[in-house]
């Protein structure tokens, strides 16, 4: 754990400007979020009154939990949170397996066409989802699915109104493949060779040698996959009709009815931001510190 690289250990007075800089930057990055958090406790009139002054960042005036109570009146917030957690977690887990396997084959094994395939996969990064969402709705509505109806398997058609339609399209991800690929390349090839000599299979090399060394890549991919899943909005809007299956971002729209309540919007925004922040806090240890123990250096 002791080898975080390049630690610049300042001493005494020389550290003051650095600390000051860090604090100023922290204020710079945190202030809109603080505004969100503080406003979530204020009634709308108060928010607008405080807007032009430092009061916008201070819990002054009529501070209460009324907005949070209002949120639960408008939106089945807990249900949406749970849906988003399930959808994001499953996508992350599947994504790590699927994309790392592909990256392993692309970066460490020899077979014809692998360079071309990698280029093609990276090329898919370019198309923004918004531009093909509509044909995709039509398409997933045609897809079959195997279902067990109690006695035997039946093939059903159409994926609308399910969890899977929110999960499976986002499991394979070119970004993740690319990231794993980059990371795997920094692991010495000699490790594979030694293991193969000892009689391990390629899959064994992947599972027992490469993946255990790839903690940071896994953490990065986890965050990379999790964020867009948590924030997904356009897609669930189009393919999920049943309210019980909706994710958190759709909830924001519930507040833009005739009588917009900005306090409630801020309260709901706070509620859906906190879990992600907590997750990052949990992950960042693995993310940033795990390399030291792995004994691998690029």
């Amino acid at each position: 754990m002791a080898t975080a690289s390049n630690p610049t250990r300042g001493t005494g007075l020389r550290r003051v400007p650095g600390v000051l800089l860090r604090i100023v930057l922290a204020l710079f990055f945190a202030f809109p979020i603080v505004f969100m958090l503080i406003s979530s406790f204020k009634p709308d009139q108060q928010i607008f009154k405080d807007l032009g002054s430092i009061r916008a960042f201070l819990p002054v005036g009529h501070v209460s939990l009324a907005n949070y109570r209002g949120v639960f009146d408008r939106v089945p917030a807990m249900r949406f949170l749970m849906n988003s957690i399930v959808i994001s977690a499953v996508t992350v887990a599947l994504g790590i397996v699927v994309n790392s396997m592909a990256a392993f084959a692309l970066s460490r094994m020899r077979w014809p066409g692998r360079r071309l395939l990698l280029t093609l996969i990276i090329a898919t990064l370019i198309v923004p989802f918004e531009t093909f969402a509509l044909p995709m709705v039509w398409w997933v509505n045609k897809l079959p699915w195997l279902q067990f109806d109690g006695s035997h398997l039946v093939i059903t058609e159409g994926w609308l109104d399910t969890y899977r339609v929110q999960i499976l399209p986002f499991v394979a991800n070119a970004f993740s493949v690319f990231l794993f690929h980059q990371y795997f390349q920094s692991i010495p090839k000699e490790l594979d060779e030694a293991a193969l000599m000892d009689g391990a299979s390629w899959f064994g090399v992947y599972r027992r040698i490469i993946m255990p060394l790839s903690g940071p890549a896994v953490a990065t991919v986890a965050i990379l996959t999790f964020l867009p899943m948590w924030n997904s909005y356009l897609w669930p809007l189009m393919v999920v009709q049943d309210e019980h299956l909706r994710p958190v971002m759709i909830g924001i729209q519930y507040f833009f009815q005739l009588n917009v309540s900005w306090g409630q919007i801020m309260a709901y925004s706070t509620m859906i931001t906190v879990p992600v922040l907590a997750l990052f806090l949990a992950f960042q240890r693995a993310f940033i510190n795990s390399i030291a123990s792995s004994g691998v250096k690029g």
Binding site: N6, V127, P128, L134, F170, T273
Partner: protein, 308 residues
């Protein structure tokens, strides 16, 4: 991209042909889940969307779409809004890519220390990233108002000398305002990516350089920068592609205005496709956009290619 692999010693007693066949089969098995999923959920719908670009398809229409050849593209190349959107997108990318990458690296170097509280700062810098772009845009909408907090700060810090503009309603300041906010939102993510790159650089290299009497800048140039090569490619590609996809902020904050000053290609595609129901035209925009970004990425990859 992938480096050449030296001839591998064969495991005892296994004939080479079987060995190689097994390697190929395994590789095939391991890439196929990703490939099938990408084919089904990306290639097919994208192909469908691009196919629409050559038809008269509309979002709502009683008549089936018919083939119209290059008509949509002809209209597109005479569309002043498209030209403007393309220009805005390029300007946005040209500013955001170097600024965000550089600022991210600076932040990463700043928090890559053992000073107490580093985890705290690292987390705070990352906060905007984990906040949804929709939420962030809504908050900045407040801050950017003419009498909002940003102008309030400008006013106080310049002792009343400078009065800030109406950021999002002035065609000259709207795009810079969106650029600023986007960098603010995204830089934490790239800080973390840079940070993971920094962590892969062996600490011994720094120590060796320090013993050789290299100062900070020299150490950065000779050890850190070369050590970040793989990270660099990743950061560059992710920022570039993200920059080209600029949409959410514009959609929430300005809807492309005022007077097209913040319209982007993706925004225009979504706007014409959904709000104006011109599916085929929107597909044509997407197709042209795809070709442009592909060209840019290829150039970028050529410039950052690994010299073996």
């Amino acid at each position: 991209m992938s480096t050449t692999v030296s001839a591998r010693p064969r495991p005892r007693g296994t004939p080479g042909g079987v060995q190689r066949r097994r390697e190929r089969l395994t590789a095939f098995g391991m890439v196929s889940p990703a490939v099938v999923l990408l084919l089904c959920f990306l290639v097919v719908p994208v192909a469908l969307a691009f196919g629409l670009a050559f038809t008269s398809a509309r979002l709502v229409s009683p008549t089936p779409a018919h083939f119209v050849g290059l008509e949509n593209f002809r209209l597109l190349f005479h569309d002043p809004v498209f030209a403007r959107s393309l220009r805005n997108t390029l300007v946005f990318a040209a500013v955001v890519v170097p600024v965000q990458a550089g600022f991210g690296l600076a932040l990463a170097l700043l928090v890559n220390t053992k000073v107490r509280g580093t985890t705290f700062f690292r987390t705070v810098y990352f906060v905007p990233v984990v906040t949804s772009m929709v939420v962030v845009s809504l908050v900045w909408l407040f801050l950017y108002q003419k009498t909002g907090l940003v102008n309030h700060l400008i006013h106080s810090f310049t002792f009343g000398l400078v009065t800030g503009p109406d950021w999002l309603n002035n065609p000259r300041t709207s795009l810079p305002a969106i650029i600023f906010m986007s960098v603010w939102q995204g830089v934490g993510f790239h800080m973390v990516i840079w940070l993971s790159g920094l962590q892969t650089i062996p600490v011994e290299l720094h120590e060796a350089a320090a013993i050789d009497g290299a100062d900070r800048w020299a150490r950065f140039r000779s050890v850190t920068w070369p050590g970040l090569r793989p990270t660099r490619a990743f950061v560059l590609i992710t920022i570039t592609i993200d920059a080209f996809r600029l949409f959410t902020q514009v959609n929430v904050m300005t809807q492309g205005g005022p007077v097209d000053s913040t319209s982007t290609v993706v925004y225009q595609a979504v706007h014409t496709g959904y709000d104006q129901q011109q599916t085929a035209y929107a597909s044509a925009i997407s197709l042209v956009f795809f070709v442009i970004v592909l060209a840019v990425s290829l150039i970028q990859r050529f410039l950052t290619r690994e010299k073996d």
